[in-house]
Amino acid sequence: MGNISGKAYALTILSPIKNGIVTGEEIAYADKVRDLLQSWNLLPNSPMTQVPQTYLCRYFVLDDVYTESLPGASVLDTFADLLPVVPDAVRRRILPKEDHLKSRYLVFSSNFHGGPAGDVDGYLRGMWNAISGQIKQVWGYCYGFDQVNDAASFVGYMKKCQLPATLFFVGANDEPLPEQLKALYLKQEFARFAVENQGLEAAVLRANYHAFITRVAPTNLSGPTWEPGQYRL
């Protein structure tokens, strides 16, 4: 299945936003959703820090699809130009048509640790349990979301909005996020240790090393470690 690569999962959600005007405000539902999401950028950190196992995720609003007008080199564009004998009618048929969407879509794309079986249900439940308030705000203007009132109905709703990935490329790591954060913490700390203890006599180095290991506790994921979304040292 294209959504799973190793233990990483590619979740792609397209939720149709209602057409119409927010009651009492001169603003479309989709624009309201956009403003809400932008307001998250002004918080000290993202609400998504609370959602377990999230490596990287994003939200945007798909207003429409793009209609192509530039001359191109796609296979058929090229083929149509290949022979001067292709009649003009055929050439014209090859020219792109103009497509438009009838709804605007809230797009949520998340890369998370789902384990070998791709536990998308578990991830979405974790998301609901962590930030159901924000979820209701953002998704509240989408078609069909009025049926959602708990974790189970949220999972069910999201799966109806889900699209399968054709190819999912993992260029980094598919371990659980706490493992990755601990590893990053250790890398930073050990680099510093190596620099500060360069050239020491063996016995002193060894003693310092043991003190270091006790402090950083390499196998303890609960701490000390980096927090999800930590952008400061």
């Binding site: 294209g2 990483a8 590619a10 792609t12 397209l14 939720s15 209602k18 999401l37 932008q38 950028n41 000290p44 950190n45 993202s46 609370q50 999230t54 990287l56 994003r58 939200y59 945007f60 798909l62 699809v65 793009y66 209609t67 192509e68 530039l70 001359p71 191109g72 796609s74 058929l76 564009d77 792109p96 497509d99 969407l101 009838k102 709804s103 794309s109 069909g144 109806k160 909005c161 889900q162 699209l163 054709t166 190819l167 490329f169 980094a172 790591n173 954060l181 590893a183 990053l184 890398k187 930073q188 680099a191 190596a194 060894r206 390499p218 927090e227 979304g229 930590q230 952008y231 040292l233």
Partner: protein
């Protein structure tokens, strides 16, 4: 909007594919999955955390309620999502320099794709089809894809080293310790909050000032750093 979160940039590109040709793209992706050599350039570049291609059939846009109008489209659409290290042009440029044929293989079935070389038409094509991210979250904003991978190497090596750290003389400890460092000589790069990829010095300053003032006003709890 925020296409940038720490060291990662979120790119979203949507491009039309003729419905009767969408399967060709799927076959190519399937091949890429089965034949890792096709992704060798991508792996060597090592600039991506995660990337995905999603092909939406023209009848497959999610339909959730009877009152939602049904889409009537001429084409299927390919959505590309990438999480990469660097600014927009740094990334696009590195990709067209290094793996132009790989990019062409994935996109040439898309309507009016210009090919990845020359650079300027390719830049224009991406800009034309790109959708800005409104909110981007990164679980490890201080780290690049390289950092995440080397962190695992460091962690595994350190845990393995520690198994025998109490054994032997101090001299043998030192020898093993040197071997540990030598093995990690490409994994110990520091992780700091730079570089800045946002182009406006003013915006950068504003953001820095804003974060400093926020920090003063309400000192961070753990989990909000």
């Amino acid at each position: 909007m925020s296409n940038v979160a720490g060291k990662s940039y979120a790119m979203n590109v949507i491009t039309p594919v003729r419905s009767h040709l969408a399967w060709v793209n799927k076959v190519i992706f399937w091949t890429a999955l089965k034949l890792p050599s096709t992704l060798k350039g991508l792996i060597t570049l090592s600039l991506i955390h995660y990337a995905r291609w999603v092909i939406i059939g023209k009848h497959q846009f999610p339909h959730l309620a009877p009152e939602q109008p049904k889409e009537a489209l001429s084409y299927s659409y390919m959505l590309f999502f990438s999480n990469f290290n660097g600014s927009w042009d740094q990334y696009v440029d590195s990709f067209t320099f290094a793996i132009p044929s790989g990019l062409d293989m994935f996109w040439k079935w898309n309507i009016r794709y210009p090919k990845s070389v020359a650079l300027t038409p390719f830049h224009k094509y991406i800009q034309y089809n790109q959708i800005e991210t409104l909110h981007y979250y990164n679980g490890y904003p201080l780290a690049t894809s390289n950092d995440v991978k080397s962190a695992k190497t460091v962690k595994d090596a350190l845990i393995a080293f520690d198994q025998t750290a109490h054994e032997g003389t101090d001299a043998t400890f030192l020898k093993r310790y040197h071997t540990l460092l030598r093995g990690l000589q490409h994994d110990l790069g520091d992780m700091y909050p730079t570089p800045i990829v946002s182009m406006s010095a003013y915006q950068v300053e504003r953001r820095t000032r804003w974060h400093a003032s926020q920090l003063q006003a309400n000192p961070l709890k753990r989990g909000q750093q």
